[in-house]
């Protein structure tokens, strides 16, 4: 029995307990560089380096990249839509699921938002109308209708995944097709709804903030201000960053993705959480649809087609694990920038669309392969230390 006693020091007694108690104040003693790396994260640091490298290559090949015109219009606009979708997608992927239907949701939202603003009603098949009062001509109402559409369709995804127990990939592959069709069904006679007559609304895409900053010319063009679109994206990203990192909701997302059974046994309501996450992801897709409408001045049922691939690529590139439980909004945003610069760079260099698609596909696979490799390495490290 004396063996047993010796192997088990009482809490707070004996020399063993002092090095073993957690060093709560450790962070303060670390160097500034170390703190910076910790704040950004090691994985994100490599993303930043990759981003710098790609920007350098693009600038070297095409100096026009660094012009206000390009940075503030082409680049920022292409980032915003993918970015919004990717931010919502991050939540779902970190929870160990997937949503392939976000592009289609954006298409539906694009049409419903445009219809609400232009006609105060959404067209339904067979000539029926769903009136939505007080929305005609109102920018805010348009935004709300678009987001509402996204939330609703996200709830459909969530219900299919949780209540019907359909694998998320299959479920949202199905709704990707179904919602794409729905987008045409809610468009009057399947035709786009023009919003050119709504300058209040299209201001979302054309508006600029701080147009008068005394900044030097860049690439032969003067400073024109920061696009409203871009600010909306940054705002949403910040909200989601806070949500994922600082709230109990975010904790639950990571717990579910890391080990759903353990999460449930710790009192997390999986069904409710999963439906909620799909609704959130739908909300960002809906907002993306609204902004697409403003940018193209048309509530077009094909507005969102193809964006899901870029969004999902960005999330995995941003460090999310395919099995869930890992991934950050900061990483996703950095990866969105990376994908955006790559697309923009290829456009400026005159690389053909078909090549761009191949490049995007390769990037997705490379991102996931990289994530898998990182995971395997972490797994090895874990088993090594756990058995030591």
């Amino acid at each position: 029995m004396s063996e047993t006693q010796a192997a088990a020091p009482l809490p707070g007694k004996g020399p063993e307990s002092s090095p073993s108690t957690p060093r709560v104040g450790a962070a303060e003693r670390e160097s500034t560089a170390r703190r910076f790396i910790n704040a950004v994260g090691v994985d994100n640091l490599s993303l930043i380096l990759a981003l710098i490298a790609i920007v350098a290559v693009v600038v070297w090949l095409q100096p026009l990249f660094l012009s206000w015109q390009n940075l503030m219009n082409s680049l920022s606009q292409s980032i915003v839509i993918v970015g919004l979708l990717a931010v919502g997608e991050t939540v779902v992927i970190v929870a160990g699921m997937l949503d392939i239907s976000v592009g289609s949701i954006a298409s539906v939202a694009s049409v419903t938002a445009a219809s609400a603003i232009v006609a105060g009603a959404i067209a339904l098949p067979e000539g029926l109308q769903l009136p939505i009062p007080f929305t005609e001509g109102s920018m805010l109402a348009g935004i709300l209708v678009g987001i509402g559409t996204g939330v609703l369709l996200g709830a459909v995804n969530g219900l299919i995944v949780t209540k019907l127990n359909v694998n998320p990939i299959i479920a949202t592959l199905g709704t990707l097709a179904a919602f794409a069709g729905l987008a045409f069904l809610v468009a009057p006679e399947g035709k786009p709804v023009g919003v050119v007559t709504q300058p209040d609304f299209t201001w979302l895409a054309t508006g600029r903030v701080l147009p008068d900053l005394p900044l030097p010319e860049l690439g032969g063009r003067g400073w024109t201000g920061i696009p409203i679109l871009f600010l909306i994206f940054i705002g949403v990203a910040v909200v989601f960053h806070v949500l994922m990192k600082y709230t109990d909701f975010g904790r639950a997302v990571y717990a579910i993705g890391g080990n759903a059974t353990a999460a449930r046994l710790a009192g997390i309501n999986l069904t409710r959480m999963r439906i909620g996450m799909y609704m959130l992801c739908g909300a960002t897709a809906g907002l993306a649809g609204v902004l697409l409408t403003a940018r193209t001045t048309s509530g077009n049922p094909i507005n969102g087609v193809g964006f899901e691939l870029q969004a999902i690529t960005a999330v995995f590139l941003g460090g999310a694990a395919t099995t869930g439980g890992k991934g950050t909004i900061v990483g996703t945003v950095l990866a969105v920038l990376l994908v955006g610069v790559l697309n923009n760079g290829m456009n400026l260099l005159g690389v053909g669309t078909f090549y761009q698609r191949v490049a995007l596909g390769v990037l997705l696979i490379a991102a996931v392969a990289l994530a898998q490799w990182r995971q395997a390495r972490a797994e090895r490290a874990r088993t090594r230390t756990a058995t030591a």
Binding site: M1, E3, T4, Q5, A7, A8, P9, L10, P11, G12, S17, S20, T21, P22, R23, V24, A26, V242, Y246, T247, D248, F249, R251, A252, Y254, A255, G258, N259, T261, A262, A263, R264, L265, A266, G267, I268, N269, G325, K326, A378, A381, R382, T385, A386, T387
Partner: protein, 530 residues
């Protein structure tokens, strides 16, 4: 129903009889556990040798060494004067040793015939020779009398666990080089008819000169079947004797009979206030279970694996469905549909499999510790980090979790420390009832003692504790009262102090005994009437 007596036909292939399998001075240690300690034993051709011992006595480790899953630290295996060293199960098989575990590998998408001959299917050109395969399998199944219990065409994923074992046994017996066959609790999931067939098969293999190792918890079975009995306790071989002349009494005394009482200090004053009351729970796993746990009381749940104890915990916690019955907390009936409701009612549950069910291994000690109470640590849904860290470090220190920091991934801690994190989570949640399922499984002796002390402290602080364990000395030492379960039912209630392992084992196994005797009487009667 008529039972067909197994045919006494000639064996499919002659089995070469040779020398015994000699196990000499085999030891095997795992971190902090001496699983086997200098075990020497002969397994002779043409005999059935029973391995007995409690959970954790070292039976499985010995089987795994024979199967080539583990290599002994010291000691040797040899046959016919030749020393054997297996790097993997394939090498053990090549030497003629076959170990059949409780959960054999079955290919789900193919039928019984292909499963039996997996890897050595008869071929004609590029194609499987289905006709030859079917003929071989039909002949073999008929030979051993399994043609009705194991339909040749049944797909792998449609097989019961008993049928899976029979497939694995068929895989083994069709090999003419098999010299040693080890069966790990083969009857735990078999029906009586299947048991009869299996016994006939085992006896027949014995007559063919195969050395058979038979692991079982069912004493009557052993006495019926075995020629010799070897008993392991704490990794040591404590008895080897001829089965003839042995009684269940002697066996049980040798299986148990150690005193760990000093680890446990029981200085509690239990109250009369019933905190958890369970009335007549029925479910897929339970046939009417009723019990109660009082404030400040540790109530042990003993029983064999499969008795329904873990499932009982999960039904109470809302993780498994209950078909009828009532659960009362502090005298009020509660309706628990999912774990979050159970937690809301003041119930905590530390599951048996901490890696799969207890912890999110890739997240930090901090997040795992506060997982069940995180909502209470928020203001406007924002987690109050300072408060969270203070609470987490308080419990991490109180449980003496050895971790470099609160940010450490839980998966990187040792087993004992992981278990302490699970307990820290439930302590932080301040429940009224705490259900602990095998809280000391797979952790070292030092950590065990700490956990015992902690459970004692909790009970002294007034918590009602439901303590599920398969470790008899532990459950006897810790519990104020013990419920013994078997087959989804409580078969007895014993006081903690003064109860012997013997009493618990009898309650845990008595129904097997009774049922088996009854079925045997029936079978005999039918045979006679025929």
């Amino acid at each position: 129903m008529t039972l067909i007596a197994p045919t006494e036909a000639a064996p499919l292939a002659p089995r070469g009889a040779g020398g015994a399998l000699e196990i000499r001075g085999v030891s095997k240690a795992f971190p902090n556990v001496q699983a086997l300690d200098d075990v020497s034993l002969d397994v002779r051709p043409g005999e059935i040798l029973a391995f007995l011992g409690e959970n954790g006595a070292g039976k499985s480790t010995l089987l795994k060494i024979l199967n080539g899953d583990y290599q002994p630290d010291t000691g040797t295996l040899s046959m016919d004067g030749q020393q054997l060293r297996f790097a993997n199960p394939r090498e053990a098989r090549a030497a003629g040793i076959r170990v059949i575990y409780q959960e054999p590998e079955i290919i789900p998408g193919v039928d019984v015939a292909e499963n039996i001959y997996a890897g050595e299917l008869p071929r004609r050109g590029f194609f499987i020779d289905r006709r030859a395969l079917n003929q071989m399998v039909d002949r073999e199944l008929a030979e051993y009398g399994f043609e009705r219990v194991l339909p040749r065409r049944r797909m792998g994923d449609e097989l019961s666990s008993a049928q899976r074992q029979l497939v694995e046994i068929m895989r083994a017996v069709k090999s003419s080089q098999m010299r040693v066959l080890a069966l790990d609790e083969p009857t735990s999931s078999l029906t009586d008819e299947e048991v009869d067939r299996l016994f006939a098969l085992v006896r027949r293999l014995r007559s063919e000169g195969v050395a058979i190792i038979y692991v079982s918890h069912r004493l009557h079975e052993i006495l019926q079947l075995a020629d010799r009995v070897a008993i392991l306790r704490d990794g040591r071989l404590v008895m080897v004797a001829d089965a003839a002349g042995l009684t269940e009494d002697v066996i049980v005394r040798n299986m148990v009979g150690r005193d760990l009482g000093e680890v446990f200090d029981r200085r509690r004053a239990t109250t009369d206030r019933v905190v958890l009351q369970v009335e007549d729970i029925r479910s897929d796993w339970h046939r009417g279970v009723s019990f109660d746990v009082r404030a400040g009381e540790i109530v042990g749940f003993a029983g064999l694996i499969g008795a329904g104890r873990t499932e009982l915990a999960k039904v109470i916690f809302g993780e498994l469905p209950m078909s009828s019955g009532r659960i009362l907390v502090d005298g009020r009936e509660v309706h628990i549909s999912q774990p979050s409701t159970a937690i809301g009612q003041g119930i905590g549950f530390a599951p048996e499999d901490r890696k799969r069910e207890g912890l999110v291994l890739i997240r930090s000690v901090l997040e795992n510790t506060t997982m069940a109470i995180i909502r209470r640590l928020t203001r406007f849904r924002i987690v109050q980090r300072r408060m969270e860290r203070r609470i987490a470090s308080e419990y991490v220190a109180r449980l003496n979790v050895r971790t470099p920091s609160l940010e450490q991934e839980v998966g990187k801690l040792s087993g004992g420390n992981q278990q302490k994190v699970v307990l820290a989570r439930w302590l932080a949640a301040k429940p009224k009832v705490l259900i602990l399922d095998e809280p000391t499984r797979g952790i070292d002796v030092g950590a065990k003692a700490e956990i015992y002390r902690l459970i004692d402290e909790l009970a002294n602080a007034g918590l009602a504790i439901m303590f599920i364990s398969s470790d008899l000395p532990e459950i006897l030492g810790m519990s104020d009262r013990i419920y013994v379960m078997q087959g989804g039912r409580i078969t007895g209630e014993l006081p903690g102090p003064g109860t012997t392992e013997r009493q618990v084992l009898e309650l845990a196994m008595h129904e097997h005994l009774a049922a088996h005797r009854a079925s045997q009487q029936m079978a005999t009667a039918e045979r006679e009437s025929r």
